[in-house]
Symmetry: C2
Subunit: 175 residues, 2 copies
DNA sequence: AAGTTGTTCGCATGATTTGCAAATAAGCAC
DNA sequence: GTGCTTATTTGCAAATCATGCGAACAACTT
């Protein structure tokens, strides 16, 4: 997501108005690495601007999304999370804390996948499920403090393949 | 997911009872490649057993999930989809039809990812977003007709990092 | 056949989001 | 600054998806 100033300019250019609510939300989302939900962002925003409506938060997030300033994430079926990082990146989810981290993957192009015939891939999203080994230490889970920022070492993934047995015999025609 | 007979046996072993509803749902899920939602499965089940409750469908799917017979998928924010394929596999979603296909990926271990320090990967899920080149024909989007079946060629992924159109949370018009 | 207890089922409730319309207030013209 | 036009904000209703609960029901046992 661009800086609040740039986003404000884009808004004006589109005939949208600059309201205090929007300005606040721009600044709260800028560089926000917590992947907040609308509700979470609403709570933070409410501290700065008591009375702001959850409806407005949803609306502004939708606008930013339409403008390509933020991304939507449907991670685990709960509320949608919003990510101001629109670079090509992926995510890691800690099963213990539910924290969500940005993950950059170098060589997606090298994946060998058996895609359905005629399927044109436009975009790939990868989610690493796991846990932070040292997540026991006092890591606050208060949505807007820390998240990620960890040194982030480069590594090769080792997904414990619990079971492996390519079986595609089925022909699932409905009833 | 195991055959209805095997699943039935597991049920009995756990002190669970074999009801007509469960038997029906076992058979409807076995080899089902349509990745149905609870609602979708309910509709199909209702034809064979009018009066079956959506509540029962949810409950049975939850049981099967707890027993490791099926997997849950939170794909695009809509309803949870259930997959009787519990092998290590991934998915491809057609942006046009919403169809969902199983995808096997050979070399996940070779991914180079910058994970947060201390993050232990337990499991990786990959979703290929794209479209079927020849999906132009009027394909029903009722989740229970065709799905997969395609020859599935092995290929290397080419994720064009084009920015994808902001997708609204598909919620309405779907029946 | 009768009893025990797991199941089914409908309804209420909860969590997320979105639709709507009235009240409010940006941004523009004087 | 004043007033106007119309985009926004808001609160509330409503839609979607999922789960809790308890009464009625029915598998399985003896």
């Amino acid at each position: 997501m661009h800086s609040p100033e740039i986003v404000a300019t884009k808004y004006k250019e589109q005939g949208r108005r600059l309201t205090p609510q929007r300005k606040l939300l721009f600044s709260l989302m800028h560089n926000n690495e917590t992947h907040p939900t609308a509700e979470g962002l609403f709570e933070v925003a409410s501290k700065r601007m008591p009375g702001i409506s959850l409806r407005t938060v949803y609306q502004t997030l939708d606008e930013l999304s339409e403008m390509g300033e933020i991304q939507l994430m449907h991670c685990d079926g709960g509320a949608v999370r919003f990510d101001p990082n629109v670079d090509e990146h992926h995510h890691a989810v800690c099963a213990e804390t539910g924290e969500l981290f940005d993950v950059y993957v170098d060589n997606i192009d090298s994946l060998r996948a058996q895609l359905p015939a005629g399927f044109e891939v436009q975009n790939v999203s990868i989610v690493f499920h796991g846990r932070l080994a040292n997540s026991a230490s006092g890591v606050s889970r208060t949505s807007r403090s820390n998240t990620t920022k960890s040194p982030a070492r480069q590594q090769t993934v080792r997904a414990k393949s619990t079971k492996r047995a390519p079986r595609r015999t089925s022909r699932g025609s409905n009833t």
